[in-house]
Each structure stands twice: as C-alpha cells, then as structure tokens.
C-alpha cells in the first residue's frame, strides 16, 4: 500500500505545472474558474496551445500523435488542469470519435480525420440521442439506406452539444430494420455541410444555447464514411461510451468548484461573520469535502487498478453517479451562499468583455444559472438511473 506519487510522477506534475504557469491564457482560466461560458474562439485558442505542446490527445497511441500517459499521469493532468482553470476539452472529436476511428476505422479514415482533429480543423459533435431514443438508445430511428456508393440519411438527432459550432457529426443510424434493434445500427461520419442537414438551437432552462436538434433530409453520405462494418455500429458505440464515462465523474472539477465555493463563502457575510464560519454553512461545506475525499480515493483506486492492467467496469458507473451528485451539491451550496442574490440574472455579466459594475460580487453572477445548467450532469452520458441499472446487473447480478 502506497498512496504517494513516485518521484517520476512528482516530476511529471512539476512539468505540468510549469507548462500551465507559462502557457495557460489568464483570461480563459479566469472564465473557467468563475463558471463563465467559453466562446468557440476560446476553445480553439487553447486547443492550439495544447496541440503545440503535444498534449491534446491524451487517449491516443503515440503513432497517431497521442501522448503516452499512464493512468496516473492522466489523473495528475486532470487534477492540475482543474486547479488551474484549464478549459475542459470538447470531447467529441479528440476523446470520443477518435478512439473509435483508431480502433475500428480504416487506414484512410485515420489519415483523413485524426490529423484534422489534432489541428482543430474539424469540430465534431455527437449524434446519438433522438427524440424517441434517449436512455433506450438502441431504439433509434434515423435511417440510412444504401444507394450505390452513398447512404441516404433521413431522421433527427437531438441534444447535440455544441453542434452549432461543429462541421462534423458522428451518428448512429439504422441500416437494417429486419434484425434485433442493436444489430441493425451503423456508425457514420457525416459532414455537417452536406445539403439536407439543418441545425436548430435548443435553449436550456438557464437561457444558454448549448444543445441543438439536427435534422437530416435525404442527406447523401459517401459509403467511405462508414466506420467498420455495416450493422455493427452498436459495438463501436458501446466502446465509445466507456471513454465517455471515464471523464464524467469530474473529481478535479469538483475540487476546483469546492475551492471556488470556499472563496465565495469567506467573502459573504451572515450574522456579521464570514459565511464560512457560520455553523450551518460550514458543516454543509465540510460534509461535501469529506464526500469528495472519499470519491477522490475511490477514483484513485480505479486508476491504480487500470494501471495494473485491469479494465474499469461498473466501478466507473458508480463513480459517475457519486461524482455528479457531489458536483451538483457544490453547485447547490454556491447558489445558497449568495442568498437573495441568487435571483438576479444579468446575462451581460457573463459575456466576453463585460467591465461594468457587478451587482454583488463578480463571483456571484453565474452561480444560479450554473446550478440549473448542471442538473444535466445526472441526465447525460447515461443518466444516473441507467448507471445504477448497469451496476446492479454487472456487479450485483440482479
């Protein structure tokens, strides 16, 4: 039993810190730390810096331009980047479609798409969910019918995160209606600029435009854009979901949010004393900090087992549930900490370049909106109920 980092791991952490000290743009970090929305340009600026360092594709093999980091190194990177306010990479290209292309794609697909993901030339989005197919993803209806050397795609995707910025979408489509639902699905790469595709914004409850509906009307997709074999897409989709879930626990993000909360609570006053000294509030914070410690150690245990060659199984589902609950609880406290100031919602305060008066405290402006927006954490990426179903099946055999 040894819970400390090795000398090499510590050296790696120093390297990460030196890089972030030097290269992370202060304006971007400030936005991330205060939960303000990032623009497309912010994401792209940071991605270029990361790519130049060779640290963008942390899940890829080196031969394709990835970084060969061990699970512990990845963990160190996650921790440090949350602490510094590094923007979370938009995962759809680099962490989702790329691993699928690397594992199941053909040579040409690798040659075409991987460099464009690295360089930031392509912005990908994920076309899985449909209005009728959420948790029950396999019931999806978007059709792709082969005609010569094209598929003709018709249907609708929904909840497409940041699809408004994307020029590429990876989709699950139905290519066979004769077989069991899971067996007739294919994995297609589609250029969003193809005629017949339209994108409509969905505004979330906090007024943000983050998700979209994507409509396909007789969209011609070259057969070269099929990944792997026709009708075998479900296997690839599931492979991708294991990648999707590993990041979702967000322990590092919770740590950052917790330290933001403490800062906020030491500035706010209740009964003439800093809120952080208030017995009720400090106990609430303490309880979350303790829960987070437990989740962080659980996370490390999973990482250590993967490092030793194991495969993360249903444990990552448990961690997703726990991690998202903890983050939501921190968001809840942050909103509580601003008291009556949870009500004002001044969108301009969140925008780029706002330099007007803050109503209360610049830390307060985005907190209510952030609380509501993060209700999504327990819904997407496989809702928490679905994760629990997975655990009860896989671990408990129920």
């Amino acid at each position: 039993m040894n819970m400390n980092y090795t000398a090499e791991e510590l050296a790696f952490r120093d390297e990460v810190r030196a890089f972030l000290d030097e290269k992370l743009p202060a304006d971007i970090a400030a936005k991330v730390k205060s939960f303000r929305p990032l623009t497309k340009a912010d994401h792209q600026r940071w991605q270029k810096i990361l790519s130049a360092q060779g640290w963008y594709a942390t899940h890829w093999p080196e031969e394709y331009g990835g970084v060969k980091w061990s699970p512990v190194q990845k963990h160190i990177w996650d921790e440090e980047s949350s602490r510094y306010g590094v923007p979370r990479s938009v995962p759809f290209g680099v962490n989702m479609v790329a691993p699928v292309i690397i594992k199941f794609g053909n040579e040409e697909q690798k040659q075409t798409y991987l460099p464009r993901i690295l360089s930031g030339e392509d912005w990908w989005c994920q076309g899985y969910s449909e209005p009728g197919a959420g948790s029950d993803l396999a019931s999806l209806k978007t059709r792709a019918v082969r005609e010569g050397d094209h598929y003709i795609v018709n249907g609708q995707k929904t909840w497409t995160t940041l699809g408004q910025h994307a020029n590429m979408i990876f989709c699950l489509v139905r290519t066979n209606t004769e077989v069991k639902a899971q067996e007739g699905i294919s994995f297609l790469l589609i250029d969003m600029n193809t005629p017949g595709i339209s994108v409509r914004p969905i505004i979330t409850l906090d007024g943000e435009h983050e998700v979209n509906e994507v409509f396909f009307e007789d969209v011609k997709v070259p057969v070269e854009n099929l990944v792997g074999e026709e009708d075998k897409g479900w296997t690839y989709a599931k492979y991708l979901l294991t990648y999707e879930r590993t990041g979702l626990a967000g322990i590092g993000l919770s740590k950052a949010a917790l330290s933001h909360l403490k800062q906020l609570a030491s500035r706010r006053i209740k009964n003439g004393r800093p809120l952080i000294e208030d017995p009720t509030f400090s106990q609430r914070i303490a309880k979350i900090e303790i829960d987070l410690t437990a989740a962080a150690i659980s996370n490390l245990r999973i990482i250590a087992s993967v490092e030793g060659g194991g495969v993360p199984g249903a444990e990552s589902s448990m961690l997703k549930v726990r991690g998202t609950e903890i983050r939501q609880a921190i968001n809840d406290l942050a909103r509580r900490a601003i008291g009556p100031y949870a009500l004002p919602f001044v969108e301009e305060e969140l925008a780029d370049g706002f330099d007007g008066d803050y109503l209360l405290d610049e830390l307060a402006a985005p907190l209510s909106a952030n609380y509501f927006n993060n209700r999504k954490l327990s819904i997407f990426g496989g809702s928490n109920e679905i994760q629990k179903n997975i655990v009860s099946k896989m671990i408990l055999g129920l």
Binding site: G134, N271, P340, A342, Y371
Partner: protein
C-alpha cells in the same frame, strides 16, 4: 376539525383559478416575462377589477377583509400559473406594511391605490450584506430640515423596477444589526437621488437594486414611529412568508402534475418510464413532499394574521423550511425524471422548477428558517 375552505373562500379560489387558466397560458407567460414590466398589465387590471388586489385589506380601507386563508387561496392559484404580477410585493407585503404602520392620512394616500391596483408598491428591505436578516440595515436616514435624508443601498427588490411606491427600511439609530432603530419610509422612485438598476431574475420576473444618494424625503414619508419599524417588518414578512408558502404549493402541484403526466406518456424500452420502480418511488416521494408542504402552508395561513408570538414565529419558520426543502426536492427530481426535456426553456416544467428554487431564496432559505426554529425551540 375542518380543513375545507368555506364557500366564500372556495369561490375566491375558483375565480382566481379560472382567470389564471384562461389568461395565463405558458406561452403567454413567456411573452409577459419578456416585456419591460416583466408581467401583464392587462392581467393585473383584471385582478384588480375583480377586487382581488383588495383581498387582504379591511372593509373600512375599501378591502375585502380577507385574512391568511384568503391570501392563500389567491397565491396558490397565482403559483399554479407562475404568474409574474407583483401581488406578493405590492398587495400582501407592501400593502401590509402601509396598513400596519401608516397613519390615517398615509393609508388614505397609498392604500386605496394599492387595493385598487392602481398603485404598485415594492419592498426594499434587503441590502447587499444583509443575507436574509432584515434587521441588518446599514442604509441611514438622518434628520434633515423637517424630513430625512437617506443614503445607502437596497438589494434585490423584486418588482421594484416598475413600482410606484417603494417601502425602504433605513436606520435612524443603533448598530447595523440591531432590531431597534430601524425606520420605514415610503419613497417615490422619482425622488432625486434614487437610482434603480433593473434586471431580470432567473425565474422570469424582474427586480432591481436601488442606490439612495442623499435622497431627501419629508416627515410624512416616515411610516410609524421613528426607529420602531423592526417589529412591523418582522410581522409583515411573516405574512409574506405564509403567502410564499401558498404560492409554492401551487407551483408544486403543477410540477407534480406535469411530471406524473410525463411518466405515463414517455416511452423508453417499450414501456412508459413510469413502469420503472425507481421513478415510481420518486414520484411517490414528490407527492409526499407536496402533501407536507400543503399542510404547512395551511398552518402558516392560519397564523398569518394572528398576534405576534413565538408560536407564530415558530410556525412560519417551520413552514418556510418545509417549503424550501420540498420545493427543491420536487424541482430537482422533477427535472431528473423528465430527462433532457426537463432542462429546456421551451418546456414549462423547467420554469416551475426555477420558481421553486427561487422561492427558497426569498425571505430566508431553509437553513435560515431551521436556525430560527431551533432558537425559538430552545427559548420555549
């Protein structure tokens, strides 16, 4: 024991309910929220024409003579429609302050207007540092000429952006968190030195922060005795808490109806999702929370107009605590049960969820109420 409304009260509730159903569709509500006032002037006019803005005032003041239960009936229905009109601010709270603290001529001057709906009041009692403590007043009123000069800053004045009359607390003596030494002033927002910074609120309403910079008011702006307003404010905020609880019950009722409908309609894995036991149990919990909240709203209404006592204080703190917790439970679990749809602006549920959370931020959240309750419990 009889928990039924009497005939008159039932009629009142039905009248408001019909009006809300007829005039306040969700789509219209979104439109009202986008206007400068942030609510519907036309709907407000209808409320006043039906005499609803006069409900809590005594008959000699031109009112209906209603008490906590009548206010509860109105507020529950306004809650069901997520109505944005300043009924709580102007009629219940503002009107209550003027009715209790004002002298005859002040009541004549303002209350008639409030009761008829022509004059809209807002209450400016909170300050940036005050959290939920209404005794935490740093705004100062100094004697000046034959009146007072006000300086300070008031925070999150819901409805204050378009009110005709603003009721401001200011300290005439004492230290910043003393209960004694707080005075109440009636202020026209047009007075020189009053600056309003308006904004929308996250639940779709509107409000403002107010800066008072050497604001000169006459002696007739003082409501009640100098330095004596603490008790009045506490009493009236109790009435407002009872009204908020009633509103919350209306909001929760619809939130639960929408969720239950969705569980029956939405199919995944070939069955309505309401067939999944985890969602069934959650829905049952949501209903139980509503029942608890409803009981406490009734209890709160029953003491809203009673004489001030520790018992009344304790009941109101308990009610607001339950409402805060049950509101958050129903809000969060309702969103979760809806999946992605529950997160969207276009679907009404999200707006019910947001109102429930913001109610907790008005007049003291569940933590603050729990602390109050615990203090009172020790004292008794």
């Amino acid at each position: 024991m009889d928990f039924q409304l009497n005939e008159e009260q039932q009629m009142l509730q039905d009248t408001v309910g019909r009006l809300v159903r007829g005039e306040y569709s969700f789509e219209k509500r979104l439109e009202f929220s986008e206007t400068e006032a942030g609510y519907s002037e036309a709907f407000w006019a209808q409320l006043s024409e039906l005499g609803l803005t006069a409900v809590p005032f005594s008959e000699e003041l031109g009112g209906f003579g209603g008490g906590g239960v009548e206010v509860q009936s109105v507020m529950t229905e306004l809650g069901r429609g997520l109505c944005l009109e300043p009924y709580l601010q102007s009629v219940v709270f503002g009107g209550g302050l003027v009715a209790q603290a004002g002298n005859e001529s002040q009541r004549e001057q303002w209350l008639t207007g409030i009761a008829s709906g022509e004059l809209k009041a807002a209450v400016a009692l909170q300050e940036p540092q005050s959290f939920y403590d209404l005794n935490d007043v740093e705004t100062r009123a100094e004697k000046s000429g034959d009146g007072y000069q006000l300086n300070g800053r008031k925070a999150v004045v819901i409805g204050g952006h378009c009110a005709d009359l603003i009721l401001v607390s200011a300290r005439t003596s004492g230290d910043s968190r003393d209960a004694d030494g707080i005075s109440l002033f009636a202020l026209s927002p047009d007075t020189a030195g009053v600056e309003r910074r308006s904004y929308p609120t996250i639940d779709g309403a509107k409000g403002c922060d107010i800066v008072l910079n050497n604001v000169q008011v006459g002696a007739d702006a003082l409501l009640g005795g100098e330095g004596q307003a603490g008790a009045v404010i506490e009493y009236q905020s109790g009435r407002a808490i009872a009204a908020l609880c009633a509103e919350a019950v209306g909001v929760m009722e619809v939130a639960n109806e929408l969720t239950l409908d969705y569980l029956k309609q939405r199919k995944q894995f070939g069955v309505p999702i309401g067939k999944f036991q985890v969602l069934q149990h959650r829905m049952v919990d949501m209903m139980s929370e509503l029942e608890q909240a409803r009981s406490m709203a009734i209890l709160a209404a029953s003491v809203a107009d009673a004489e001030q006592s520790d018992e009344r204080r304790r009941i109101l703190a308990a009610a607001k605590n339950v409402i805060g917790r049950s509101g958050q439970f129903i809000s969060e679990n309702g969103i979760q049960s809806h999946g992605g749809i529950g997160m969207t602006w276009e679907y009404n549920f999200a707006h019910y969820a947001k109102r429930l959370i913001t109610i907790n931020h008005q007049l003291g959240d569940d933590d603050v109420q729990l602390e109050r309750y615990a203090r009172l419990m020790q004292a008794s």
